[in-house]
Symmetry: D2
Subunit: 308 residues, 4 copies
């Protein structure tokens, strides 16, 4: 099997408690644009620098959390092949016809992985009306707002048997694993996994409860914009989890905080350029405090708590 | 009395436990240059962007802390006038002849203020050999090292009766007070005081024990260099106190951490441009957590502890 | 005479050709706020981080350029003293009663200096309704717009006999001169002059025609915001003069460009902290290309042209 | 054929006139590390954040310029397949045995493409002794020097028939083309080509003379480090070509300047995240001035001159 077939995580559906207040956060503070609303009242959003129809769907629910993440793959052939390989891997695969539930999206395949998370794959999606320019393009059409999120970037998921999830991402999704953290007995504590040059598209932490999410990460331009995001957290009286700080793992500069519905959000910048031929970085569990929070060099208690 | 007579805090003498290891921090990590050593073994240092002979003296001692801070004033006349006014204010004034204890420095007057700290004033000091260029000057002569501290910037002192100390700084030193924090009964909890456009040259927090210091602050160029300083704290395994963060008070971007002898150091950037005609900013004690640590919006316990 | 009496340049009145289009630049691109309109149709503006009533007045006229600059001084006593000293210096002084022509401003004195520019001084001005917060203040009330100009910062004026203008600024306005450029015969080619810690509040270049202005400079936070300003110049199809670049003189990071009426504007960040006791920096005229445009190290032709 | 097989440009051999002086630039100013010297006196260098043995070889010669660029591919199978496909494409392919001329490198295949440039491909290279850490890694082992180049990033090549070169990069090297510039007659004027998420690994400009190079680009962290690089250009009296500026094409922030042997170097930061499924950006030749130099929006004459 080969790396490079999966392009990126292209869509997350997030559960929110107070749709109006939370939407205000995603649009006016984080800086996403509203693409539209589905017939059942969910709201579709995208970052200003994304080409595809939408990347975030908010669904009003009684509990915060992640419904699913969908990965875009590079062709219909790849999509069909991966669906078969997923079946072969032992997961039940459910087909979602085009334009069902997620306007603009082609056919998706949906399945639950070992960690209890619902993954989806798709190859086709309409371009957004308000994507980046392509003819003699300016760097943006409208000055980015608020935290100036450029794209939905990655997710950190918590659940059991992440070793299997990692294997699935490599064998079926064709991703590679730039960085891992191992327990003293050699088992995986955490894994950072990517499709191409970003240091991670998805990460897993071993956790007894299935299907939990630590955060969705949105990409900002640089450390300066991390500072700007921190200012906005303060001014808008959002609750900080940790940061501004840096991860030694991925090298990304980061803030974790809570949006109004209680989903943890990361704004993230920097990070190394990952290549599949580079040696894998390996962390000992005893060093993960430093690995995650390089400046304080301690694991904050909330890192293994408050996952939704 | 008039503002503008005091130029800036020009010299601090700091007690260190392990001179060699601590000196390695001040030179190779913080980025100061060694100016020389006194006959009794103290080490004189300066930042690359300071003109005067030296700004920091390290003295080996059994306890960390501050021996004294000396303020440069704008003329010999001012120096003599201030010495008389200090006497008139009720403090005992001690004259230190030129080139005594601090090579390169002219006559100093020394006195203890209400908070138990030793203040000094002087008007004359030799220029450093290795100061900024003045003829067709480049922006620096040698690429700044480590955290790239530009200057010794300010101090935060803890002690009793800061209201009197604030009055002394205004009436005798001719400084003004851009920002204060008051207790519910209207008494001062903290005060930020400056000679000119920097938001503070010195600050006080009311504290039962006299003569304590919270930190000496060194000025960095901007938020980017704050991030670089945080990287150096991590890589050199220095102990972080808090940050990178921002103060709403002064608006400065900041990290507090501990140098090897246990003195808390701040690296600081930004901050508003202060003017004596601008309204004074006033904080309620109940809001000081947000005022000091704008992002977490909570007072960390160490803020009233671990003062040396 | 003493430095420190003048606080800063607090008001400029600028002539614009197309008021509507130019106002769009000053508000939506540069980021100033409209304070109001005078009865004769001029528009008053201020930057988000200025406390006083307004700092920029735009007047529709047939030619771009500067009507006058007004300096705020620290007290009514100083104002009266300076008016008398200005007379004594040999300039005719004209009194402008409070609230005449510039709403919110107290009494001003107006006079023409050797370079042909109209200077004014005043000590009283009302606070703006929309100034920075002062009770438990956030760092701003409304996220800064566009280029995020923090304040009207300085001016560069062209005219004859700048040596006399420099002397006037020192002797009467109590300013000092951190940096100069001299011709081979020792005469002044240019002079940078300040009231306190900013490297310049005003600068002069010797020029045969009187009363010309090279640019008004607005202060941005840092080099990052200089880059953001350059992006906005590009996207809004404004005409660039030079930059992003750095001045070795003042060390400021800078862009010069043209607003829609043909006034050159500078956005400026950084710059050293000036002190009156520091040695004066001195440039040879032969090095002024490098001094002004440190990166290309050449004087661009427009530097001595296109002054309005 | 499939994208993703080529990893990146991994090695350039550059001709220099004055080896000692030029080496001082590459090590002390640009910030590369010396890996060693070949038996015939060439010097091998690498950036601090590169894992492989070396990425730049300097060869003393009578003329500046590029000897060749070598691309790393993802496996030996790919290497052999690409060699056959290159032959099939019509180019003569020359095998260079392992450890010949470039210590540490496995077998390379060498061939000349339509533009007159020598390309090489290889799949194996030893890891550098001084690469990034991999066990509980710090973000770097030694504080980056000078301009802090992180990696050799890309090249801009000039020569005839770039349309064929672009096709070769797509069909044989498996790259894709995020951005192009077309002449009014629809023919290619320029092409930006990449292996994965970087906006370009290599670019071509149509030019009558074969085998010319415009620049080698080195990656810096962000716009702040572009400013730092500009400071170092000024202080070290290097000759600037253009910048600091931004390309609308790739969105990268950039400076072009000349190293002591007359090779143009770019320091580059930012740039969008490229994906093969995103629409191709297309520029009209009439807009290329703005596309290349977004801030001045004019093509500088040297862009089509001084290629070596």
């Amino acid at each position: 099997m080969e790396y490079g077939k999966t392009l990126r995580p292209g869509l997350v559906q997030i559960r929110v408690l107070d749709l109006e207040k939370t939407l205000d956060f995603y649009t006016n503070i984080l800086g996403l644009d509203i693409v539209g609303q589905t017939s059942d009242g969910r709201v579709m959003l995208k970052a200003y620098d994304e080409f595809d129809h939408h990347s975030v769907t908010l669904r009003k629910a009684d509990e915060a959390g992640l419904d699913y993440v969908a990965f875009k793959v590079d062709s219909r052939d790849t999509l069909e092949l991966m669906a078969r390989q997923t079946l072969g891997f032992g997961y039940r695969v459910h087909e979602i016809p085009a334009n069902t539930e997620q306007p603009g999206f082609g056919k998706r395949y949906s399945f639950k992985i070992s960690t209890g998370h619902v993954f989806q794959i798709y190859s086709d999606v309409e371009l957004a009306e308000k994507g980046p320019q392509i003819i003699n393009p300016d760097i943006w059409s409208e000055q980015p707002r608020g935290m100036k999120a450029q794209r939905m970037d990655h997710l950190l998921l918590y659940g059991p048997n992440i070793a299997e999830a990692e294997t699935f991402c490599k064998w079926v999704l064709g991703m590679f694993v730039p960085e891992v953290c191992n327990n003293p007995d050699g088992s995986r504590l955490a894994s950072w996994i990517t499709s191409a040059n970003k240091p991670h598209d998805i990460a897993f932490v071993e956790f007894p409860e299935p299907g939990k999410i630590h955060h969705v990460g949105f990409y900002l331009n640089d450390w300066h914009d991390i500072g700007n995001a921190a200012d906005l957290i303060a001014i808008n009286r959002l609750e900080l989890d940790i940061g501004p700080t840096r991860h030694a793992i991925t090298r990304g500069q980061s803030i974790y905080f809570w949006e109004p519905s209680g989903n943890r959000v990361e704004v993230y910048a920097g990070g190394y350029t990952a290549y599949p031929d580079n040696p894998q970085r390996v962390w000992d569990a005893s060093e993960i405090g430093r690995g995650l929070f390089y400046y304080s060099a301690e694991l904050i208690p909330s890192f293994f708590e408050n996952v939704t």
